[in-house]
């Protein structure tokens, strides 16, 4: 699972839809892998406004990355190629291969195996 996806995914339990603590899901025992992908500045510029920066800081912290700047790069900062490259590296090239994603609200565990998250729910939680 790419870090960018972790910034969009929420708990799929019905009761958690309305709870603010259900996002972001928290990583535990994460094993990372770098996978090179083509650098696309256009894509980063397109998707950055939708990134929840606070959640990204939390995720990056849990994955053991050096802390991110306090606020989201905006305006002129987006013309700086190095900033975009760093974001590309964090958001798209960093993959979580193994581990668990835990909801902050209901503590439901989603297991990650070989980069695939298991989001199947038992029917009583749907």
């Amino acid at each position: 699972m790419k870090v960018i996806t972790a910034n969009f995914v929420t708990c799929s339990v019905k009761e958690c839809k309305t709870s603010p603590s259900a996002f972001p899901l928290h990583f535990h025992d994460a094993e990372l892998e770098m996978q090179e992908l083509d650098f696309q500045p256009e894509f980063i510029r397109n998707v950055l406004p939708r990134i929840d920066w606070e959640a990204l800081r939390v995720t990056a912290n849990e994955l053991g990355f050096p802390s991110l700047p306090e606020s989201k790069p905006e305006g002129e900062a987006l013309d700086d190629e190095q900033t975009l490259k760093d974001l590309h590296r964090l958001l798209l090239e960093t993959q979580v291969m193994e581990g668990r994603l835990i909801c902050g609200n209901c503590s439901h565990e989603y297991v990650l195996k070989e980069g695939i998250a298991n989001f199947l729910l038992p029917s009583h939680l749907v």
Partner: protein
């Protein structure tokens, strides 16, 4: 043709063997590629976007999203959901670029609001019309899915779902569920009436300059006829008029004449209103 939907639930039907067969068959690959390209054409994306692939299977359609050339607005980054572990296993072996989720789309779409630029689904949502256990219903699953999809798309986003309905009931059940969830919906049919006919449910989320009508999506496309059932119904009502008025009588007389019946000649008195009699 046999329908896999009638045989087993999707997670069991697509076992290791079926998944491998599905992915290696060149016939299926070609059909899937054609449909994915058609769906991309309908999405009209102009810049690299984040796309949700619903029922991604082994990533046949996702591969095309990753390979889309920069001139056509690609390459796109995609996230795939599928319920069959075997299919996802094949996707892993093929080293697709998208992120994969083992998830049931009938349980909702677990992404926060406004996540995706677009969504695409190739031959998947007809599976929602089957309920495998007694505690879920097809209507409920369709509702969960479309509501989740609607929320996870950004405003002005689009979704194109190619599907194989078993009959007209399923077809209207699926499009009805999409409309109830808030989508602007319409169905595009390729090669209608033939064995190869393909249905594309085109969904729009608010705005996008389409005014709640998807006919704008196909505007400017070649070989597309717009059949708008709503407009037709209104026009017909206007043309036929009320029963018993002059236009109605004239039409009836014409019909009878065509049948070879003896019909009185038309005159200035035909269909004229009588004076109110006390």
């Amino acid at each position: 043709m046999s329908r896999p939907e009638d045989i087993l639930p999707p997670d069991l039907f697509y076992n290791d063997n079926e998944s491998r067969k599905y992915t290696t068959s060149s016939r299926i690959r070609n059909i899937q590629a054609d449909m994915t390209n058609r769906a991309l054409e309908l999405l009209k994306l102009t810049s690299p976007s984040l796309i949700l692939d619903v029922g991604c299977g082994s990533g046949l359609s996702g591969e095309i999203l990753s390979q889309e050339s920069p001139e056509d607005g690609g390459p796109h980054v995609w996230v795939g959901m599928d319920i069959s572990p075997s299919m996802l296993d094949v996707a892993l072996q093929r080293e697709v670029e998208g992120d994969l989720f083992l998830a049931d789309i009938g349980q909702g779409v677990p992404f926060r609001p406004g996540s995706f630029d677009a969504a695409i689904s190739i031959s998947a949502i007809q599976w929602l019309c089957n309920a495998e256990t007694s505690d879920v219903s097809p209507e409920g699953r369709l509702k969960r899915f479309f509501e989740g999809l609607y929320a996870s798309l950004r405003r002005g986003g689009r979704a194109v779902c190619q599907f194989y309905p078993k009959n007209d009931i399923q077809r209207s059940m699926i499009s009805g569920a999409a409309i109830k969830a808030g989508f602007g919906a319409g169905i595009l049919e390729d090669d209608p009436g033939t064995k190869n006919s393909k249905l594309y449910l085109v969904l729009t989320v608010g705005g996008g300059g389409l005014q709640g009508d998807i006919t704008g999506v196909v505007n400017g496309m070649e070989d597309v006829n717009v059949l708008d059932a709503r407009r037709k119904a209104q026009e017909l009502k206007g043309a036929r008029g009320r029963k018993g008025d002059k236009a109605w009588i004239m039409k009836k007389k014409e019909q009878m004449e065509r049948k070879g019946k003896v019909v009185k000649q038309n005159s200035k008195y035909t269909g004229r209103k009588r004076r109110v009699a006390f």
